[in-house]
Amino acid sequence: MPGSRNAIDVCNAVKRYGSFTALQSITLSIRDNEFFTLLGPSGCGKTTLLRMIAGFEEVTEGEIFLFGDEIENLPPHQRPVNTVFQNYALFPHMTIEQNVMFGLEMRGSSKDAARRKAGEMLELVQLAQFSARKPSQLSGGQQQRVALARALAPEPKVLLLDEPLSALDLKLRQAMRSELKSIQRETGITFTFVTHDQEEALTMSDRIAVMSAGRLQQLGEARDIYERPVNRFVADFIGETNLLDARVEAADASVATCRLANGLTLDCDAIGNARPGADVHLSIRPERMTLAAANGDPWQGTVRENIFVGTDVQTVVQLQGGIELTVRTQNSAAGVATIFDPGTDVAVDVEAGAARMLED
């Protein structure tokens, strides 16, 4: 893809280990200066893809371009990309400063220039006072930031991060999220971030590629993926959702009317394969529905249980025909008024446009 201004273009990349196919024909582009996230469950091939970009895994088939240059046959030390490893892989026999200087020296910087740049980088990650320590004398979070400084110091064209936050506790992880995000904005370096944590992906990324079983499921902006998931996997993996089976009753170019198994009907945006009579799946986010006292509306059911989850309450409502819906109500003065005890009959109000038809 010569001439493209994307930071990275992966074209039909396939990775096989013997007879096992870890990645099946992945094609995606990572734009310059963006915070890009590879998101997917354990074993879906995120690390494999990242390691192929870094050069640690051979590409079985396909090509990888870095700013238009084909790189899949270059050895790792000739690729101007750096990696923050999941377990940091800091050099234990070197000080923090020497760790950060290493890449700079390898690129031919003088000792003085490398030391100055390392100082700046350690300043950036707020570890300047630890520069003389050994990695073993730092906490996990501090080591993580050293790894970040070390990878950023040579000013790579793309920074690859493999679940860099997974070893940290929740509070630190949240703090590091915003720190990473602001460092990315400050440096303007393209970040390619791997995680299996959908919340992490949603809060940090400009764009997200959702992967599963070695395939790219959906690529788009965080909001887009959350609100317009293309299939059941994405709808279910990103956030929580209610998945319902339905049959298309009527459809025009923009709106399709679907009938659930229990006879209730629902309108949603039509997508490509929505023909009358087709069996489809619908996704409705729990926060896009509200409860009210039963009022004779056909969308009604019985409260089964209320689950308190801090910021909100999840209410499981059973509709006629055995269909269960989870409805989320904010734990606020207004919200609490619409929480009903188990056994109460309630009306379920589905927001217009809340139902999303899925491709499969």
Partner: protein, 310 residues
């Protein structure tokens, strides 16, 4: 708070102290019987008077040490001069053992690295293969080496056959033969500790180095070798120390001119020509030398660690 912690610590260590002493008893016994007692015996013998046909007379004298360092003429009545014979033998031994150690390191490191980077289930096979020759007695292996290296031996035949040489090269009875013999005798002592270190080495560090633009050699030099240094030092000590005192390889492969300390000491306890106190004194001098070298290496190691840690 510090006080409370200290009290807690001392209570605990007292509780375990007596048990620990008892548990250490077998180790102390083994150490005492097999290390300290023989060394003490040697030390005592080195200060005794020699008996004409081997053995000792229980009379204190410094004669053995005097004979080692000073030349007082045939009848012992001339002014003392430095006796170079034995010092030269010692010097040659250190040199030979050093070269054998370097050779073992040059061959042993890549071998150990190779084994440690094989798939887990084949590593034990490789280690086993390395140790197979060492199931055979050292004497037999050294004699075989003599056969391999001699002028009409397989090595020369092979070199002649390849056309690399036109006449057999003289290997046997040279320093090179001794080095080859020593190297071969102790190679596994180099390979095994390095293998153990490399196996524990975190290869993600090599990936990190490659990611930071280091080529293979730089990665080896700046990351791998410093990380496995304890194994390398251990291997070098384990090859150098026995090489220094070896006598089979110098005797069988080096011929009379390439006498080493081990042979010198061995002679003193053999047959009628022996001089037990002199042999014991030479052993004590060798032991002192080895200890000095070990302490030096240990301090180097410690300083390297200290310099790296503020």
């Amino acid at each position: 708070m510090a006080g409370a912690a200290a009290v807690g610590g001392s209570v605990r260590s007292e509780t375990y102290a007596s048990a620990r002493n008892w548990l250490l008893l077998p180790s102390w016994a083994v150490l005492g019987i097999f290390v300290l007692a023989p060394v003490a015996m040697m030390l005592v013998y080195s200060f005794l008077t020699k008996e004409f046909r081997g053995g000792v007379i229980w009379e204190f004298t410094l004669a053995a040490y005097d004979q080692f360092f000073f030349d007082r003429g045939l009848f012992g009545d001339e002014p003392a001069k430095i006796e170079w014979t034995y010092i030269l033998i010692f010097w040659r031994s250190i040199w030979q053992a050093g070269l054998a150690t370097v050779l073992a390191l040059l061959i042993g490191f890549p071998t150990a690295y190779f084994i440690a980077t094989r798939p887990a289930h084949t590593r034990t096979v490789w280690v086993f293969l390395i140790t197979i020759p060492y199931w055979v007695n050292l004497l037999i292996r050294t004699v075989s080496m003599k056969f391999l290296l001699r002028d009409q031996g397989p090595l020369n035949d092979f070199l002649l056959w390849t056309g690399l040489i036109d006449d057999p090269i003289r290997i046997i009875n040279t320093n090179a033969a001794v080095q080859i013999g020593l190297f071969y005798s102790y190679l596994p002592f180099m390979v095994l500790p390095i293998y153990a270190s490399v196996e524990r080495y975190n290869f993600a560090l090599s990936e990190a180095a490659a990611d930071l633009y280091a080529d293979k050699w730089t990665t080896l030099r700046r990351i791998v070798i410093p990380s496995v240094r304890p194994g390398i030092v251990a291997g070098c000590i384990l090859v150098f120390v026995p090489s220094l005192g070896a006598f089979l390889a110098p005797d069988l492969l080096g011929g009379a001119k390439n006498f080493m300390i081990g042979s010198l000491i061995e002679e003193q306890f053999k047959g009628n020509a022996g001089n037990w106190p002199f042999g014991a004194a030479a052993s004590m001098i060798l032991l002192t030398l080895v200890l000095i070298i070990l302490v030096f290496l240990a301090r180097q190691q410690a300083r390297a660690e200290r310099e790296a840690t503020p």
